[in-house]
Symmetry: D2
Subunit: 387 residues, 4 copies
């Protein structure tokens, strides 16, 4: 039964462990900033999803792996016994890495048994598929968080000296400006496959005439912005962005280091010279917006991006848009815990569109709505301009 689903389950679950394979045990544990979770937490949390939403409610003979894992791998784990213990994910040396892998193995065996022997109805199938997409989201976070952990170590250790993403980041296309005529368009997900709830419902929007660039802003252009005093002129910045620049003494994208007269960049292979032809990466919304302002242009809205997207290559960088993350017309939260997935985050964040070199294969759609806070730099973020 469910051969396709089983195959898909195995493939995706394995991929999470593959991403971690170059890590040392210690790399799984630390949490240098609140946004960056320890890799072992990602491995446990995605597993907990299947245990909590599939096995416990639906597998009749299921025996819980460890009844304390719920508050370790849930998002909010504040209480134990009769006393509150405040802790952070990065303070937890236990469960150990090998225990987390045992947990994965146990859940995978149970899931495979369940998938092979159970008749699965549509809603349940939907939840399993959601769990797999959830796992894929955490695969991208594994990349970004591992990069942060190693890239903020003063020894700058490589993740893997010969690491390459499947999708190349460098861009050899000749830049073009793509014009889109005004009119009523439809955006949002429609069709049969999987989408997150925030991509629904498909709805009409009116767009004015606009143009959008066929390529992402390159490191070369971004260096021009730096050299032209972009980080020193408040006129390009939102007021909050300017505060952010001054408070954090920001003068370049994340992972850029000016060493011995040259701009270096921490990559999964270690410190390298900046590649001028590569699309700029690891910029915040504030930086993307200031760069656009310096260029005399602007960021596209998410509707503009989606409508124009068939006309350009995308998938190298998550592209900051000028749209705030808000519900689409007709958006409804699902009932129960699954309903907390997206809706409650729809305030004070900006939408990013596209995908990045770190996005798992098969996890991209041009209706996908990613979202982060304006100051965040640690994702593989980039800039496309509109006018």
């Amino acid at each position: 039964m469910n051969n396709d689903l089983l195959h898909q389950y195995k493939r995706i679950r394995l991929q999470s462990e593959r991403i971690c394979s170059p890590l040392g045990n210690e790399d799984y544990v630390v949490q240098p900033i609140v946004d960056v979770s320890p890799p072992k937490w990602h491995l446990g949390h995605t597993t907990w999803f299947f245990e909590t939403f599939i096995l416990k409610p639906f597998a009749s003979d299921y025996r819980e792996f460890d009844n304390q894992y719920n508050f370790v791998f849930n998002s909010y784990y504040e209480t134990v016994g009769a006393r509150v213990i405040r802790t952070d994910r990065g303070n937890l040396s236990r469960p150990s890495v090998s225990e987390v892998f045992r947990y994965r193995k146990y859940i995978d065996e149970q899931m495979e048994h369940f998938l092979s022997n159970t008749s699965i109805d549509e809603p349940l199938r939907g939840t399993i598929i959601l769990g797999l997409h959830h796992e894929q989201q955490h695969q991208e976070l594994l990349y970004t968080d591992i990069k942060y952990i190693l890239g903020h170590n003063p020894l700058f250790p490589a993740y893997s000296v010969d690491h390459e993403f499947t999708k190349p980041a460098t861009n050899n296309e000749t830049p073009k400006v793509i014009p889109i005529p005004a009119g009523i368009y439809e955006i949002g997900f429609k069709g049969d496959g999987f989408c997150f709830d925030n991509e629904c419902g498909c709805h009409k929007v009116y767009l004015d005439d606009y143009t959008i660039t066929s390529t992402l802003a390159s490191n070369r252009e971004y260096l021009d912005f730096i050299h032209d005093g972009g980080y020193r002129d408040f006129r390009y910045w939102h007021a909050e962005g300017w505060d952010w620049v001054k408070t954090n003494k920001v003068n370049a994208p994340l992972y850029w280091h000016f060493i011995d007269g040259a701009w270096m960049y921490y990559t999964f292979k270690g410190l390298k010279h900046i590649d001028l032809n590569e699309p700029v990466c690891h910029v915040s919304f504030y930086e993307a917006s200031a760069f656009a302002s310096w260029k005399g242009k602007r960021l596209p809205t998410e509707a503009e991006w989606e409508i124009a997207s068939p006309n350009f290559d995308w998938g190298q960088r998550w592209e900051w848009t000028g749209s705030a993350y808000l519900p689409y017309p007709g958006f409804k939260k699902a009932a129960g815990a699954i309903g907390e997935y997206n809706g409650k985050f729809m305030v004070n964040q900006m939408v990013l569109r596209g995908a990045s070199v770190a996005t798992p294969d098969g996890h991209s759609r041009n209706t996908y709505r990613n979202f982060f806070h304006a100051p965040h730099q640690w994702q593989f973020t980039g800039i496309r301009l509109a006018e």
Copy 2:
């Protein structure tokens, strides 16, 4: 010359001082939270606007009132001589209230002389008009900030025991649900009069079918929300809103106090019992949104509000919308300091539409885009629902 402008100038400038007339000297000085400025700062800052943008550049014979007032009444005043002095507006006992009034008198005489004797071209006229609208914005802030200062004093002093706003707050209308058909609409300012830069340009939007209520949510309905556990059930709240509720132990709108078994409300006349028929006031975006969610409805977008607005009475409360504060298509910042007026705040704030009982006469338009951060309660904010 410029008789109309002169008349308008005198009327508006006088109104700021009228608002302050019930205050004691000490009330002009304090700044209980960063968002609330001391009344004397408002009086000085609006005056500084005319000195800086009209008199200094355009009145040939103008002699500056005091060369140190620039960093006292500008938004950012950090440096003096060769040493930085960090201070906050609420730490400045000088200039004294009477000195600020002398400053106003001096500038008013100079402005009246200037307006009476100078030929004023269109751009300059525009800047003067902007200064007057700026003063009117600060008139509403004078009301909200005075309310905060007195309403957070443990003695709960009245502003004036017989104070009444011109516009009554209570609502006797029978509630209706207004349906609006789907279609392309135009929003944004068009016409001849004054508008702020953020209301331009007028542009097309596509709206789906929606309904909007003809009345604001009342204290009665809001009490139902409280009694039904609205502040204790996370499902109604954005994740950030829920954090805000817990961190600040919020359990009611600002100025509500549960005393001896009854809900009291601080008003300009002192502490009063809640009037159940009045539209709820002093709620944050988080509260407005949670209330809407509890009702099974939502907040209107700003476009929906604007298109429907001819069909209902508005002007009692600034109405939170579900729209983030972002630039309209084609929005351009003005050059120079005036260009900082609005654009740089277009991130992480929500739009409010309408006007309130504290909004000066002649300062309302249904294209007006007010904006505050999601947790802010100290403005005269209220709730209208859509579906």
Copy 3:
């Protein structure tokens, strides 16, 4: 009856108001940092002491002035009605300055009536005397807090352009080094007059041979320390002191400003050039200790200071000692609220000995134990060296 006490009461109470006489109304209100209280709070709080500890419990016919003043003028005023209002002293525009003066007048009349018509036993007399010394402590705080309020205003307003303290600050004495032989000495208060509880009990200490300087460190010497890189060399500083220097970018005593190539100093007369012969003032314990370390010397202990004090003039500056503020042998807290006066502060503070130009006449003793936290600069503090 009680003529002496009555006379003393009137004289001391009047002096608090005299100190405030040059102030504008607005100067009474602000609280620029948590340590600096608004002058009107000092005036109310010292009055509240007499109302709370004398009139309410002992004056049979006493009618409370205002039953809400208890939480306004007590040290901890957090609750009103059924709801907690968090506020700070500097956010309270009411009671107004004139109301506080009416409060003082009312209490003074009641106290004078009480003193004139009541037979007062020894314990009660002790509490009244304590109230007067308490008022004198706040007189010095009025000076230091007014200096902070005006001296941190970017306009640098003078308190009074011809202000002089009774005691001159400048020192014309030839410096000497005073040797004190080892032996058992007695320190602490003994005798008949008033002392605070922390000066008891008188007890024996053993001191080794030591020397102490007859004069305070001058601005000239302190400038040498600055020019010699004193604020840039961590070796002179406690670890916490060095953190304090770096975090706060401290490079001179409080109120020093380097303007147009010269060191200026804010005084009650306004900004003046540094007087090189004056004893340095407004230094923290960290600075006093680093200066001593740079000189190859140390600060005296409080016992060394007290034993040597008959051999030198003191009273210009509160002199930082190397002693932590701890209970003397045999120290007992008094019962009741008065017992909170001193004992509960005996941790993490340093002892200062002597008195300053701002200390009221008749309020000095060589057994007096003043105490502040190590980073505090806003008192009239200075440095005497030992070896």
Copy 4:
């Protein structure tokens, strides 16, 4: 050559690794609070001491292990290349645990070679001995930090289910009150062996008559304090202690948990019921002082403790004294980096005397001056009373 020293070196260095032997790799990495360092940091830092102060300056043929370890294992490691990277010890996944052990092995071989082949003069010998005592201090910190790391994990993992300290903690002695007569006494280190610079110089003190208890306060007595409302009555507490109780909602010593109606205590063996006869452990200075105040007694001064110490057993708990950590008369910092060892911490900390069950054998003296900040609970601290 130097056989004794070599033997001692090997024995002490081995002991640090023995303490860590029950740990999993992940336990070496985390830093749950700033005071608690990751075990691998302790292992590296103590090794760095020998590399930096012995091998680099004195071993002519020495080749540095890794030139980046200096900023990893020094106390302050802020810079790399041309850019500052801010990080905390607990964010460093590299060097890995096995690399740190390789570092230890390398340094140990080099040190053993050095000690076996070099003639060592007195000052150098002193530095080596200091390094060994430094290592022993970190051995106690390894115990306290490991306890914190495991004891704050919601799984409450045991360090080792059959762990016992050499010194038993339980006390079977009948309590006595020991009287000490007034007089001049001598305190501070004298003699030939090792001592830290803060124990010098030996000096006279005068002590009044006092008594001191022969036993430490027990869990039974401390529970009486809790049951009698000790944590709810401000009168027992310093003002700062009371703030600490309220802010942190403290209601018991560290590691105490009230679970299902019983007080449990996290130990190296896991969660256990409180042993009423054991001396109370993991209390702050604030708690020790409040407990003493509730008993109508006080903490001894460090001089009283030292003089009385031959009359009672000590070594189970570090005993809070009523003395602030200040220099002894005649104290001089050593020149160079070694001079930073103790002196710069002599402000705002309290002295603890004795030793604890976690103190290494041979590392105790009755002149030893340990010191921590008043709120610290994570050391093996206890309470002895005086009067």
